[in-house]
């Protein structure tokens, strides 16, 4: 059914058509807000149009499988999910417990004490998202939002170099001898790096990300290192902070869903007083812990670094050792030995 047959004013109809909305199905997935901003009409009016369109659409739609327009069945979602690839962490033990790596369409929070390797993991993921299809990667690009100034270009180059030499050594499936060898520098160019210096800037940037990603559809991971830093100062009003943070989380989740990309938020740890005792916990409080889909805690266990899945709707809680080497995140040395012995 055509938009031209909707009972709306001629000028609105013209606006719709000139914006490219010619069929009712093109309107079915829109939210009133999106439509309103897109064709510059009041939100209320946009809502009316959509109601009308969905009403007409229902009459038109004989199958009637969708209760709400724009909805998806669980089966469809499962099918779609199977088509998505994970981003490897370069540590097989960690990939194992994560079910292949960092999942797209999900928000993953990673926290730990200073020096445990959060930034290292962040840089590694920004490089690994670029692994080409023939090596099981996504051949995509990364957005790196640095709030702490810990992103070191020389380190990223090192990790990029190691990553390139790793997959250049492997036999290629779709052997293409003519393909130009990628340089570490090229990988760096595929990381869109933003440095933010205050929480207002951070919020503004995350609001703007949707637009940016629309223009750069190749982006498949957004890394925020760290989500916490600017939110640990200047907040007298904790309720405000919580509200701002959950709004941020919601926006990031929406981005993850809309563009099928992975969002990785790095978090710091803080001490918490309960009943006189002091223990460590991830920063930003209890309500924040609900905000992310997955939560991974990095910690020391003797001389080894371990990652522990603290919260996930799909993954079993488990822990795995990893190590930070000159090449980046890799399997733990002792774990390697264990595998060899077996």
């Amino acid at each position: 059914m055509e938009v031209s047959r909707l009972a709306i004013s001629a000028s609105t109809r013209a606006k719709l058509i000139s914006a490219g909305y010619t069929s009712l199905s093109s309107l079915s997935t829109l939210s009133p807000f999106n439509l309103a901003t897109d064709i510059k009409i009041p939100e209320k009016e946009a809502d009316e149009i959509l109601k009308l369109a969905s009403h007409n659409g229902k009459l038109d739609n004989t199958k009637g499988t969708q209760a709400v327009s724009g909805g998806q069945t669980a089966w469809d979602m499962l099918k779609e999910d199977e088509g998505l690839r994970c981003i490897t962490t370069s540590c097989s033990a960690l990939d194992n417990i994560l079910g292949g790596g960092i999942n797209c369409k999900e928000v993953t929070e990673i926290g730990g004490v200073p020096g445990i390797g959060k930034t290292q993991l962040g840089i590694q993921l920004a490089i690994n998202v670029q692994i080409p299809h023939e090596h099981g990667g996504l051949a995509a690009k990364a957005i790196y939002i640095d709030t702490e100034g810990s992103f070191m270009v020389e380190r990223a180059l090192q990790i990029a170099e190691a990553c390139l030499s790793d997959y250049n050594d492997l036999p290629r499936r779709g052997c293409n001898a003519n393909q130009l060898k990628r340089q570490p520098k090229d990988l760096l160019e595929n990381i869109y790096y933003f440095r933010v210096c205050s929480y207002t800037e951070q919020i503004a940037l995350i609001n703007y990300l949707g637009k940016f990603i629309k223009e750069h559809k190749e982006v498949k991971i957004v890394i925020v290192d760290s989500i916490t830093f600017h939110f640990r100062q200047d907040f007298e009003n904790m309720a405000l902070r919580t509200r701002l943070l959950s709004e941020l989380a919601l926006k990031l989740m929406k981005l993850a869903n809309e563009f099928k990309l992975a969002v990785v938020l790095l978090n710091q740890v803080t001490t918490k007083y309960t009943e006189g005792a002091v223990h460590l916990t991830l920063a930003l409080g209890d309500s924040w812990s609900h905000a992310c889909t997955n939560r991974i805690i990095l910690h020391w266990n003797g001389n080894e670094r371990y990652a522990y899945i603290d919260k996930s709707p799909t993954l079993q809680s488990a822990s795995a050792p990893y190590s930070v080497t000159g090449k980046g995140i890799r399997d733990s040395v002792s774990d390697h030995k264990r595998v060899k012995l077996m």
Binding site: V113, P114, G115, T119, Q120, I143, E148, G149, S150, F151, M152, V153, E154, R155, A156, L157, L188, E189, I191, Y192, Y193, F194, R195, C197, S198, A204, L205, Y208, F212, T228, F229, H230, R232, Q233, D234, Q268, V269, T270, T271, Y273, A277, V278, L280, W300, G302, N303, E304, R305, S323, V324, G326, V333
Partner: protein
């Protein structure tokens, strides 16, 4: 908002090729580097040396800039600074006109409280915005020490600790902003505290590459707790341990035992450096790394001294006592 173009951070030389190599070029611009160690370990020595070497032209690894020294532990070590600047001038007399000229490029400001530090940082921000066209703009800020500002004013109650942590983040955020905006290298020195054996001591928590840090035979950790640790980008630790070198003389007299202080610099954590340690000495001319194998430990195993020491350098490098005698 546009993504920034990535290029490697500029580094400021420490004035010693061995230490520069150890730190992959020196102290990085655009981030905060912390230097912690017990009193007498050489923090101030290294800081003073850095103030001087920042003036070197880019071709010599410096920043071709003035430097700002914010100190909170009176008195200002001007005698030692004069000594160092003379030595510095002698080694680079072709670059600088006079010793005076070298000293003139180091600005000194005393700090009396954490709030005062924040005020100074606000002023610094506006000052840097103005003098970016000058020939020698400030590109190095040294705070010596951050711990002294915080250790007296706050009590050990949850409320005060929260207030203190809030101030840490405020200060480090401002420092990082200045560091990023103007490409300034920031070095902050920190004191250490002893780690109690009792369980539940948060200082016993492992932060970084080493399970525990030792200095003068005591188990220590950098002061100000985990919140401050989250505020710095890199953390270096200076240790000093008494060591017996050479054999006991045949009459067995204790006085003839040859002792010396072994000083080492350790990378506790840094986004760009592996876990490693490097021995250094302090002498009349400054702080110098000892050439030799870098002891790289896999994910932070022990960093105990190795016994195969080259005894020759001991003869030429008299240990310089730095203020604690």
């Amino acid at each position: 908002m546009r993504p920034q173009i990535l290029f490697p951070a500029k580094k400021c030389t420490l004035g010693c090729p061995v230490l520069d190599q150890f730190l992959a070029g020196g102290v990085p611009c655009g981030s905060i580097t912390e230097l912690s160690g017990e009193s007498g370990s050489g923090k101030t020595q290294l800081a003073l040396q850095l103030l001087l070497s920042a003036q070197l032209p880019l071709s010599l690894g410096g920043l071709a800039s003035s430097s700002l020294y914010l100190h909170s532990e009176p008195p200002y070590p001007f005698r030692r600074f004069e000594q160092l600047s003379k030595a510095f001038y002698l080694s680079y007399h072709q670059v600088f006109d006079s010793v005076e000229c070298v000293c003139n490029n180091v600005l000194v400001q005393e700090l009396d409280s954490a709030d005062h530090l924040f005020d100074v940082l606000l002023k610094l921000d506006s000052m840097l915005a103005e003098d970016s066209r000058k020939t020698m703009p400030i590109r190095l800020v040294v705070i010596d020490s951050i711990a002294a500002l915080f250790r007296s004013e706050f009590e050990n109650t949850p409320f005060d600790l929260r207030r203190r942590a809030n101030l840490f983040f405020k200060i480090s955020s401002k420092l990082k902003l200045i560091a990023m905006k103007y490409g300034v290298a920031v070095l902050v020195t920190n004191q250490v505290v002893d780690v109690m054996r009792s369980s539940g001591d948060l200082n016993a928590l492992r932060i970084g590459n080493f399970d525990s840090l030792f200095s003068s035979g005591r188990r220590v950790c950098p002061a100000l707790g985990i919140s401050w640790a989250s505020c710095v980008n890199s953390r270096l630790f200076l240790s000093m341990n008494e060591e017996i070198v050479g054999n006991v003389t045949d009459d067995g007299d204790d006085n003839l035992l040859c002792r010396r202080t072994k000083r080492e610099m350790h990378v506790v954590f840094a986004p760009h450096l592996p876990s490693s340690s490097r021995e250094y000495v302090i002498n009349r001319e400054g702080v110098f790394g000892v050439r030799g194998q870098i002891e790289t430990s896999v994910s932070g195993t022990s960093f105990k001294s190795d016994t195969s020491k080259n005894p020759t350098f001991l003869l030429c490098d008299k240990d310089y006592s730095c203020g604690n005698m």
